[in-house]
Symmetry: D3
Subunit: 239 residues, 6 copies
Amino acid sequence: MTRADGRSNDELRPITITRNWLDHAAGSVLVEFGRTRVLCAASASEGVPRWRKGSGLGWVTAEYAMLPAATNTRSDRESVKGRIGGRTHEISRLVGRSLRAVIDYKALGENTIVLDCDVLQADGGTRTAAITGAYVALADACAHLKGLGALPGDPLTGSVAAISVGIIDGEPRLDLPYEEDVRAETDMNVVMTGDGKYVEIQGTAEADPFDRVMLDGLLALAEKGCADLTRIQKEALAS
Amino acid sequence: MTRADGRSNDELRPITITRNWLDHAAGSVLVEFGRTRVLCAASASEGVPRWRKGSGLGWVTAEYAMLPAATNTRSDRESVKGRIGGRTHEISRLVGRSLRAVIDYKALGENTIVLDCDVLQADGGTRTAAITGAYVALADACAHLKGLGALPGDPLTGSVAAISVGIIDGEPRLDLPYEEDVRAETDMNVVMTGDGKYVEIQGTAEADPFDRVMLDGLLALAEKGCADLTRIQKEALAS
Amino acid sequence: MTRADGRSNDELRPITITRNWLDHAAGSVLVEFGRTRVLCAASASEGVPRWRKGSGLGWVTAEYAMLPAATNTRSDRESVKGRIGGRTHEISRLVGRSLRAVIDYKALGENTIVLDCDVLQADGGTRTAAITGAYVALADACAHLKGLGALPGDPLTGSVAAISVGIIDGEPRLDLPYEEDVRAETDMNVVMTGDGKYVEIQGTAEADPFDRVMLDGLLALAEKGCADLTRIQKEALAS
Amino acid sequence: MTRADGRSNDELRPITITRNWLDHAAGSVLVEFGRTRVLCAASASEGVPRWRKGSGLGWVTAEYAMLPAATNTRSDRESVKGRIGGRTHEISRLVGRSLRAVIDYKALGENTIVLDCDVLQADGGTRTAAITGAYVALADACAHLKGLGALPGDPLTGSVAAISVGIIDGEPRLDLPYEEDVRAETDMNVVMTGDGKYVEIQGTAEADPFDRVMLDGLLALAEKGCADLTRIQKEALAS
Amino acid sequence: MTRADGRSNDELRPITITRNWLDHAAGSVLVEFGRTRVLCAASASEGVPRWRKGSGLGWVTAEYAMLPAATNTRSDRESVKGRIGGRTHEISRLVGRSLRAVIDYKALGENTIVLDCDVLQADGGTRTAAITGAYVALADACAHLKGLGALPGDPLTGSVAAISVGIIDGEPRLDLPYEEDVRAETDMNVVMTGDGKYVEIQGTAEADPFDRVMLDGLLALAEKGCADLTRIQKEALAS
Amino acid sequence: MTRADGRSNDELRPITITRNWLDHAAGSVLVEFGRTRVLCAASASEGVPRWRKGSGLGWVTAEYAMLPAATNTRSDRESVKGRIGGRTHEISRLVGRSLRAVIDYKALGENTIVLDCDVLQADGGTRTAAITGAYVALADACAHLKGLGALPGDPLTGSVAAISVGIIDGEPRLDLPYEEDVRAETDMNVVMTGDGKYVEIQGTAEADPFDRVMLDGLLALAEKGCADLTRIQKEALAS
């Protein structure tokens, strides 16, 4: 059984990371996982939220959103509806937590970096593309701030990347596009550091509960995918 | 190293499940995990949301919330703030997905059951208590509806329970109270069916990323905890 | 003509006041008027709202709300709707005003006590139960703060209780449960101090306007009911 | 002791009722209680709210609001704040209930009349002016609809008026302007029908609880004031 | 071809400006353009918005709104809907900009004047009436503040008025009432200073795009209308 | 005096129009006016808003928004603030009106096309870029729908483009980037059809009111700019 796009089960879609896509932001990346396209912008500002003032520590947070025409069928704007949906909240929080896992707040000083991840086109894996791209934008922003002499140290303690895995027709697959995602019996998003440790695991049995054997299969695939993404991030930052 | 409340690392807090705590709801449970106290009410109504009409399939959803005085420091009401926070959204969605994992929509017919999980007192593990208690309320509601002849079949395909595990001072512990939760390096919530399969895994490295050995340790503890909760649920439903 | 629950027209439903129902709040009470069950929690904090700062005076306020499954038919959450309804606003204000009638702001010092009155189950008279229970929670909170040496004086200048009265089939009745409330031609809520003075009178002709004779009958009943509640409050606080 | 404006304690401020102040509304009144000035407009439309459809019964409701510059110090717009305050909700509901007390829903047929009461200038007693003026606008709207042959009967079963009374320096006074209102120990709003029955009583001890003697004094004053207003309403409608 | 109300194409409707319509505001005007009736109130307060603090400069802003019964068919309140519509936003901003065109911020000192323009009755041209009336209220407020010695200088650098023009059946007309406004092929609002310069031009082809000849015709009419209004404003302020 | 980017006063910035930038939308364009970059997506759906049902006529509308990192300093998301700002409302309405000026509703049939114009990067002229690009996306969407046989006729009656003009240091300039826009004494946006007629004129004196000579100068420049844009649109659609 082969996949619709001809990939093997443990193969990523074509990944591209275009740095400096915007002129104003301290760091910005257009990241593409196949047809999924996310614009990640890192905006830096002096100061931290009120609850953190005077601590000497910085802050990193993220906001995820999707343009109305990003999906097959146009979705309503959350600004027009006047409220943010649960899914948006959930992913924004996930992206923020994932990035904070590789941040040394002390080395950042009392500065705040906001990562805006706006999905321009969605074809599955938008949250994992967002995390993977946002890391690169964050790295660029840190380098930019260091160049300005604005940081007491080097805030990045490592790198972070994320990938989706799922069980389709009983077998584990890596990096699901939309058409596989909707068919997946189980769907898992895994966030890992560049040195192979877990930052976040979110696995959901969409249809049938899954057993430990399946879980181990998914974790192995995710580990492979995150390692591939780590390499691609490094190449992008080196170019 | 012992825990502040004298428990061993793989031991649950005292768990109590009080059924029929309310007079109106089709099913209702006051569930206690130590000092954490959640009121779970299952309200049944004919009909399903618009997008499901005419399908012959039922629907189960959940709403989680916390009373202002449930926590150590009073929190503002989300109704007063005029918007639901990300955490509330996230947990409501988790509870709903977890319960739907053991529901046969066809056997439910075009009926909707809403599970309201209101935290009366919070001491860690509110979402896992909510899932564990809500399952019992859901079971009671299904039995109630069957007794009325309102269901085409038996909608419950199994049972579901949830527990938190975490790494404190380098070692895995089961069922974290608040004081352990805030100190945990890694925090994981695991939802499992009564027959030992995974419904949902949500693991987060709060401080340091964790490795595969730690992950396996946490999963083993969670399996033990969910099995204990499954037994307690069965006893409650049998009484 | 007898009442469905066998009470005489001037008789309260069984009233129970359970103190210290929560672990965190400065004072907390589960109050029951028959099947109506309200959780009243008093949360104390240093400081007062901005408009009162530097005055040396304290502040007491209240928030009333109803859980979705409290009523016969599930009601939508106000947090989900994104706005608080008029009835909720109205009752929150009433509870706050009633409690402030027995507070010496100067003796409270610049401290704030918030009374959260959450209706866990509703069967008529929720606002009067809330006031009656909240007073006991407030008394406990004041005692608690005094024990901590946090108050310049004794803020309580008296006690306060509340009861509903109404005209059913032409005759006045005390403490209406839901089934009587919906049938009442006139419905009145009366808040009185422990020494028999009026704090608030809210009478509404639901169907036909009422005359002075009816009004006097209702006031007499309410006076009797509030005196009974005052005695029950005293017993609860003495135990 | 005399009042600042020279009135005796049982005397109304100068009351004027200007009918047909607007061109579009089915009925419209500019009502003035001294310097308090409220524009009351009755808008009629075919049909009733969904919960009443097919009942053959009509509906009457009201919305009260205050222009930002109506008060001494400009107040923020509720539309700008994005939410309606508790006071506004409370008064809107009071005005609606008061008018419905003299409406025969059957004679109205399945029509809805909305009374908009917008306070152009506030100097105490805005809610009582609103009720008193809205009744006249409602009467005009009913007459207008009857003239069009749009009503199955005569929906008005009587008239309704409202007045404030309060205790200032220990003595009861009628129709309080703002400067008396803020000083009142007790403040009561009374809504009565033209034939002297009570529709609504709302009495609040702003400072000290009041006793039965005071209450009787206030009720007597209010009765006198409502009778005066009823006469003025009749004259306005006759002109 | 004559207009329904008998006016010639370059003739204003009857314009009346009633000053001091309110007791509290620093300046207040009831302005009427035919049946269009707008209450303009200028509220002054010490201080400026945060972003302007310490600049020594004042601020002038405006809020436009329409009462529900102002139009032929009752419109819903924006406070009830919980959000301000695009049209309201647009006009509020236009009124504010127009008035600021004749304000010397330095001479105003760090004071803020808010112009509330509430449409009591709408018959076309509400925004132009609002601007024209608000200028007079603003002038009164400035004079009032000067009288109090609260201003460092004279903030008014000129006067401002506004008028609508449109193309109906191919010919330009001045000051459109509602029935002409809805039929207009092109609709333009022009704001001019008392000395004949443009502050704002907003022209919209409602049906067919218009050419330069039409545009010139509309501009000529508007110039004439604004000059007439300037004269009327002067007379009102002189009386 | 030359411009910072070396352009002459009547010269556009480099304009690029990239069609089919998205895979899902019926038409999509990335339009660039210098560094201003707007993604315009046309989403088509069967059916029209309720107020238009059964008319046989179609509908075209637009929503404009700006990504947080589009500007120099990050702006807050309107979805997070829970309300749409006045500027956003204003521009969305302008874009919609401009496009509707070249639509034959009958030829569109009961279909709706929504134009989403999301500013990815802002450097002045975002609304004019949005209109100019949205027209091309709309043309593509119409062609796409015609290809599907979904339209009764050809809905486009012409083309539409828009440009900003302004007075800087006393002289008129075409197509202002941000740094000129903030310095402009007068700022005007002009929307014209491909055959040189006006659809919308919005001119604002930011600092000093302007006279007729200046106005004529601005209109002449705008006419030239719109003609240039019309040619560029044609080329883009021909490629």
